[in-house]
Symmetry: D2
Subunit: 234 residues, 4 copies
């Protein structure tokens, strides 16, 4: 599969993140997806890389962003949202809940509660969903940012994971959506300070999600055709 | 209940619509909602009428638009979408499927197939939904514009009506969504050339929908608060 | 509204429950629903009380059971399930997840994990659902039995509450379903050892749920009619 | 994949069906699934063939039944329903809407309207669902039994197809459900008098559905374990 990873890549230039992700978050994600045809882009070159042509030739995109959502151009955001509607799969990771393309696709504020450094246990709430294949009934992250309800998203197609936080909150941590012909998965773990993307269960979720999000069909321009009647009118 | 009806009011100035709706489509809708506290706005004054303050004091809004979607300012569209997310109910009628606020709230293209003047039969697919209260199992509109699948919307919370068209198409004609704290109903019938909004069953659907969409709670600003832990961390 | 409360009433005869619920769990529920026309039945007289005629004249039923699910006759279970399909609302409380009528209506095993005496915090995951009206964003029960995922139920129409347990689990604690013309709410709190049904938030949930579950329409016999064509066949 | 086809095989012994399906409906379905490891059973030997062991070694089952639903033993029905809950996929065809295992899994009456010999057009309402892969936006069956709304089923996970009938009805003709770990697809076309199961689009739907319904995981006994706390209680 052809995969395009967008990581804004701003935190990744700081020492505290370099210690955890020496090749950047995008580097860790690319390694998690070894065996696929992976391209990486960051805020530095997204304007050139993220084009309609590129996305037509992308099966699944991954999106990680946090402090530079506003620096992504509206053109890029619309281009990604339209590609999803026309069939490209996409996986929004962690703080991408406030990214421009996620909000364009959800139609809600995508707000939530948060707090630094908690401990999370993820429970599988849909054991037969392809994204949960091969996972234990729950698994734990010793350090993760708390994201808590109410999470302002539309009703998900499926709630695959529910997160439990030691500090007292719950969160719909893994949720799927369909928009047009595109499959969308939002997955909450993945704070830049913690080695989440090396965790064996997290890697499995991401690999499963990429397989699940692969396009079933690509559709043409999104327009409203005036069509002839299929039946003779009486 | 406090109801605000937006009708773009452009077709309504032409003779062919005046014959059907001498007081405008907004006039017919206002009559259908007699007994409520109804305010009407059209494209002519929407910029002044549709304000954050007004919408905070509106329980349910109705939106009819067709040929002048682009003339609605982005400010008005965002203001309506945000009011819905914060709890105001809204009913999108007929060609409002391409209106700015509906598309902002759906996140999809909202495209469909269409054709002038067909005959429609509406089937109740959710007989115990409050919007279907008091309706027969199906009812008919002798003249209605055909809107056909594929209708590019997210999975509805409920599909209350499915439309059958003599010309050979089907359509999810009445669908509900939740966005934030707001209840949304999209209802397909209501072409400007036909007396749809005088039909007794249509009036009943609209009255039911207004009651169903009434706010359960109004929420404050849509932000992401950093919250203290509820539990002592170990 | 006409409400019928079924409580198996077996634990209620033991001293450890009498201390908490001197009038029985049914007594506490009846008080929570003061102002309604409430009838109470227990395992002792359910065979006589739960009849087709009675249920046709009942708006909403509540069901509490735990150790005597098997003592409920198949006739009573089928009678309740059919009444729901034909429009009666029903609220299944706590260990009623394994009751005969709940399992008949769900089609799944309704199994879950459990453990005595934990501390629960309930989070509102659907703030604009009528059942969540007037509630804070979360509330707490100092003592409650832990029920944990995976909860083997069909995808709920809405997940209104998600429970957090101090012992490390999460649970879809308040979920709605539609079966036929009937509205169903399952609500997890309510162990016989704890004064859950006196809690002000719990009482509010139950009162809200009863209002929400009220019948929209009652349907006739559930059969498959052979119908004449509505259109002339070509 | 290991596939088990159940066809009651009663009509298939009559001349009017033999003309259409000389090898029985099961024969046509087995041919449609060429390339898979297919076993066939009919009412004559279902009691011996449909065992817990057999179903544990079956990936996906197909079920066709019409006039002999009652002759299927309760043991067989429960065995199939439990296997689905534990992960086996299943596809219910046409009049299997009233079969014992389908009703056990749905929890509703599964009733609908019907009429002999109409013309049906199937519209794809979920173009990116795996079951719709490779299909045109609509396709037609010159002769099919009419099944019409209201179809008394729980809210489907996805409505993949909506049927239009020349006689004036609509139907949710292809719908998916999850029960426990099992994937379920109900597909309305397939009356015994018509050569539906030779139609190239129908064959594609059935092949797609079998691939989609394949088990993601098989679960053990469906019980409620008492579990130790994962956290130290304070």
């Amino acid at each position: 599969m052809k995969i395009l990873i967008y990581n804004e890549g701003v935190h990744d230039k700081e020492d505290w993140v370099k210690k955890v992700y020496p090749k950047g978050i995008h580097g860790a994600l690319a390694e998690a997806l070894s065996g696929h045809d992976v391209t990486v882009t960051t805020l530095d070159d997204a304007e050139e890389v993220v084009t309609e042509e590129r996305l037509e030739n992308t099966d699944v995109m991954l999106w990680w962003g946090h402090c530079a959502h506003d620096k992504v151009s509206d053109r890029v955001a619309r281009c990604v949202a339209d590609a999803v509607r026309r069939g490209m799969g996409i996986i929004f990771l962690h703080s991408a809940h406030l990214s421009k393309p996620f909000r364009l696709l959800m139609g809600t504020s995508c707000t939530l509660k948060w707090r630094d450094d908690d401990r999370e246990r993820l429970w599988v709430a849909a054991p037969s969903h392809p994204i949960a294949a091969g996972l234990p009934e729950h698994f734990e992250l010793a350090h993760e940012e708390m994201y808590g309800e109410f999470f302002d998203i539309p009703h998900p197609d499926e709630t695959v994971f529910i997160g439990w936080f030691a500090g007292g909150e719950v969160f719909r941590s893994g949720v799927t959506f369909t928009r047009g012909a595109g499959h969308i998965f939002y997955f909450q773990p993945g704070h830049e300070s913690f080695p989440t993307y090396y965790d064996v269960n997290i890697v499995r979720v991401i690999r499963n999600a990429v397989a699940w999000a692969a396009p079933i069909r690509r559709t043409g321009p999104l327009v409203c055709p005036n069509t002839a009647a299929l039946e003779e009118r009486k």
